[in-house]
Symmetry: C2
Subunit: 209 residues, 2 copies
């Protein structure tokens, strides 16, 4: 699993021309960093007298954030696995009509599969943003700035993953399916960035005043 790599190793592979890890995996990691920052705020709230009334809510939130981080880390690996068959499909021959047809069918399937992973990263990033919204309300004000930072990470994971859906749907022949995927991307992109910017502004307006 990629999460067992050191940060340095990960960045060296990311910088290299090797396609894995690529933008999709980076987004999943970015999202995981974002939700981990939410967990930090939750952990700093646990056991604090001032926040006695929300201890149970924080406990539930912490479980959900931890689940969110784990899902995103799994998606970092899934993204790498989805890319491999796609890169093999690109290399298929297309000399004869038969080969062309076969390549087209394989490509279509691989492009679809490779779109689903970043779309799932978007779903998780959006979920993470909503969890941070609750943390911003209930978490300790001492560390609330980290909710704002976390939300920005989840926002970049969301938008970066959108790009990684588009590069696949763009090449799909079945435009109905492609547009259906793009439609969901658009919804998550709109709702997620709006919510993330709202939380960021709300939290930081207190810091700047």
């Amino acid at each position: 699993m990629i999460k067992q790599n050191s940060i340095e190793e990960f960045l060296i592979s990311l910088s290299s021309k090797s396609p894995i890890p690529g933008g999709g995996g980076a987004c999943a990691l970015g999202g995981a960093i974002g939700s981990s920052l939410g967990s930090m705020v939750g952990n700093l709230t646990l056991g604090k007298k001032k926040y006695l009334s929300v201890q149970e809510d924080i406990q539930v939130l912490l479980e959900k954030l931890s689940q969110n981080t784990s899902e995103l880390l799994l998606l970092m690996d899934k993204d790498a696995h989805a890319f491999e068959p796609l890169s093999k499909a690109y290399a298929l021959p297309k000399e004869t009509e038969e080969e062309k047809l076969y390549k087209e069918q394989v490509m279509e399937k691989c492009l679809y599969d490779a779109s689903l992973v970043p779309l799932e990263i978007m779903e998780q990033a959006y979920k993470g943003i909503l969890l941070q919204e609750e943390m911003a309300e209930k978490g300790t004000q001492i560390a609330i700035s980290d909710v704002a930072v976390g939300v920005m990470f989840l926002r970049s994971a969301l938008l970066g993953a959108a790009v990684n859906v588009w590069i696949n749907t763009k090449s799909m022949k079945n435009r109905k399916v492609a547009e259906c995927l793009n439609q969901r991307v658009e919804e998550l992109k709109q709702a997620g960035t709006q919510k993330a910017d709202f939380i960021f502004d709300k939290v930081t307006s207190k810091l700047q005043s």
Copy 2:
């Protein structure tokens, strides 16, 4: 150095209530992920016939991006080092007038030092965004989507680091110095987000058409 930790170890410490690594360190890492994605695009452009005329520019860009990544990784450690004296200063006694005055002076110095690190992260993130702008123009179109992803990471590093300056300048007694730092934050925030959004839209409009 933090970069030698595994991704999993890093996320576990980030989630914990231990203040290090915190939001500042996470931003430095996010920025390093962003500029590494730019390096990937550069490395995929090197040696490609179609991009023969820009090989030298790409080589220079790659050096600058690698420098940018290294600086950001160094700042991840610097952020941890700057936080330690600050957390010690918070714990100083303030019973007598003498103690109060001493604490105030130490705090002021530590808050100032702790602001400079995220401000430097912002400077580097902004530099990274400008490097990606050049990569978007000259790099291989095959991997151009990763420039868009990289730019979003650098944007979140920039904004997250801004928050980490504000939490320190907010408590500073010397308002002249504090406002001078906030002024630079505002400039970098405006210019950086505008530029990042411009690059993202420019790159992704080609993918969505």
